[in-house]
């Protein structure tokens, strides 16, 4: 079952190309390979596109790319947070980030119109991003101690603030009108239907920035597997590294969540699955986890569009429906449970 991480990189790269291709073909309007080629060539030659070519480039392809970047970010976030907290059940939104984002989005959905915010581009993602930042800052502030940050403290404060923000969202749905309440639910389950090239590029930039800043830190972070004491004996400045990694996580998760809403389970399961597949090899772990997450979310998005086409299932529902059985089967097969 375990093979060299280098081969996993190759497998995932091929898989990524294949999945992006496949999810670009299928949808409410199917597009064949020749049409795809024409559309892509017209992008570069700046020629006039027909309707189905425009659907492909502006809606379909941007959506697939947004799905891929979001999946990568969630998987990366889960991977680095699990390593940092030395705990396999940590997910990237644990320190309040995703419930804070959902709260920010809910505030916008309920009050946006009366505060005249709806006219601005990016108003919803900005509110969500601010909510995510607010939650994370609160967690850091409450768990800060003079002697540094205590990991258990961060986890506990994170759990408490998650509960607080979730009840805030519940309250907002309660006082809102029916369509607003539906929007809140829809947003809380994640959706890529708002995809366009603008937000796709923002999320890709966040992914690339986070990936590049994590690369030099990953080796040190891997030493946390031996415990923080041993990591320090191997020359790691534990306090500094902890803060850097959490900052990177909060920023990239906030950006992704701001555009696509809360996607559950992916950030928990993908790092776990990859660890089972690779035997926790550190080589290529960031790249492979990111590719794996991207592939997974593309497939989940394809399914969400296909199952009840032309209606769409919420993305969070699909990720859990697909992810949970795979996860349990793999845990069984590797004798973890």
């Amino acid at each position: 079952m375990q093979i060299n991480p280098r081969y996993w990189s190759a497998i995932f790269l091929v898989g990524a190309v294949f999945v992006v291709f496949l999810s670009s073909i299928f949808g409410a309007v199917n597009i064949d390979f020749i049409q795809m080629l024409h559309a892509l060539l017209k992008v570069f030659s700046m020629d006039e596109m027909n309707l189905s070519e425009r659907i492909f480039i502006e809606l379909r392809l941007s959506r697939v790319m947004l799905a891929f970047a979001t999946g990568s970010i969630l998987a990366l976030g889960g991977s680095i947070m699990q390593a940092l907290f030395r705990n396999p059940i940590v997910e990237p939104g644990l320190i309040g980030t995703s419930s804070g984002a959902a709260f920010g989005a809910s505030v916008f959905i309920v009050f946006g119109a009366s505060w005249n915010l709806t006219a601005y581009a990016f108003a919803l993602p900005i509110c969500a991003f601010l909510g995510a930042l607010l939650a994370s800052i609160l967690v850091f502030t409450f768990s800060y101690q003079k002697t540094g940050m205590n990991v258990l403290g961060i986890l506990l404060v994170g759990v408490a603030l998650n509960a607080l923000f979730l009840s805030g969202i519940g309250f907002l749905s309660y006082i809102s009108r029916d369509p607003q309440a539906r929007s809140i639910t829809f947003w809380s389950l994640g959706s890529l239907s708002g995809a366009n090239w603008q937000n796709t590029l923002v999320v890709w930039s966040a992914l690339i920035a986070a990936f590049v800043s994590m690369l030099p830190l990953n080796k040190q972070l891997q030493l946390f597997v031996l415990g923080e004491e041993n990591a320090a004996y191997l020359g790691v400045n534990v306090r500094q590294l902890r803060i850097k990694v959490m900052l990177i996580n909060v920023l990239m998760i906030s950006v992704a969540t701001a555009f696509v809403g809360v996607i559950s389970f992916l950030g928990l399961i993908i790092p776990h699955l990859y660890r089972l597949l690779s035997g926790n090899a550190h080589k290529f772990s960031l790249l492979n986890t990111a590719l794996f997450g991207g592939i997974f979310l593309c497939v989940a998005d394809l399914l969400s569009r296909m199952i009840f086409a032309p209606a769409e299932l919420p993305l969070g529902v699909v990720t859990s429906l697909v992810g949970v059985p795979i996860f349990i089967i793999l845990l069984k097969r590797t004798n973890v449970i």
């Binding site: 030395r86 080796k219 030493l223 004491e229 041993n230 191997l234 020359g235 660890r275 090899a281």
Partner: protein
């Protein structure tokens, strides 16, 4: 280059409580120095200040005349290795991978030939060839500790002269056979590779048999130090609070209690 480590008047307070009080001693290469004392006497804290994971409140630790404060942690990790009691991993990890972690202070992204060579020499030194592809969690406690020791060995294996090995009760969870195997290995390593070594140990008789120099701690103070000649019944009583008899049998001496 000789390696000389001096502990000068080190005191340490935590929450206004005095944990170490005016400790003075030296470590010499090729000599196995053992720290003994009752629980809470400050042995482990002393080791941690030498490991630079705690800082003395007053006094200083000097290595080749340079204060430990001025040596960056990442630099220190290149010639100082620490073995602790027992290490639980947060995720399943392959033995080979784990030993390579000892080399992480020495390379950026990709291990260089020297790193791989150190891993190989650790694997053969600790007889781990058979386990190298196994998962750490599937090993017994004794085997796990052997892997950890191999990792610690690999960390400073390339250093010809002047490396510091700190052992914080590494024998605690091992059975008698493994304890003996380990301490013989430690002794061999210290002598052959000329390591400066400080080891915290509980077993009085193992210490007496294998140690070269001894530090006795009580309530944060270093109350006695010296070679094998300092051991006697009165000292054991003072340090541990127990009555014992020193028995001489041929070459060996041991305490009966």
């Amino acid at each position: 280059m000789s390696f000389d480590l001096k502990v000068k008047g080190v005191s340490l307070d935590i929450h206004q409580k005095r944990i170490l009080s005016d400790v003075n001693f030296e470590l010499h290469p090729g000599q196995l120095t053992m720290v003994l004392g009752a629980n809470g006497s400050g042995k482990s804290t002393l080791l941690k200040t030498l490991a630079k994971s705690m800082e003395p409140s007053t006094g200083e630790i000097c290595i080749n005349g340079k204060s430990l404060k001025e040596i960056p942690l990442a630099e220190f990790a290149k010639f100082r290795a620490v073995l602790t009691q027992q290490t639980n991993l947060s995720f399943q990890t392959k033995v080979e991978e784990l030993i390579l972690m000892g080399r992480y202070p020495h390379f950026q992204q990709v291990p260089n030939p020297q790193d791989l060579q150190c891993v190989e020499s650790a694997i053969s030194m600790f007889d781990l060839d058979f386990f190298r592809h196994r998962m750490y969690d599937t090993l017994s406690g004794g085997e796990q500790q052997r892997v950890q020791f191999a990792r610690v060995y690999a960390q400073i294996a390339h250093v010809e002269d002047g490396a510091l090995l700190l052992l914080d009760e590494p024998l605690t969870f091992l059975d008698i056979k493994h304890q003996l195997e380990f301490i013989v290995l430690i002794q061999k390593l210290v002598k052959e590779k000329n390591r400066s070594c400080l080891m915290v140990i509980h077993d009085v008789n193992l210490a007496l048999k294998y140690g070269d120099y001894f530090l006795f701690m009580k309530e944060g103070r270093l109350i006695h130090q010296g070679g094998r000649e300092v051991w006697n019944e009165a000292l054991v009583h003072e340090v541990f609070g127990i009555q014992s008899t020193l028995i001489q049998s041929g070459e060996n001496a041991y305490f009966s209690y």
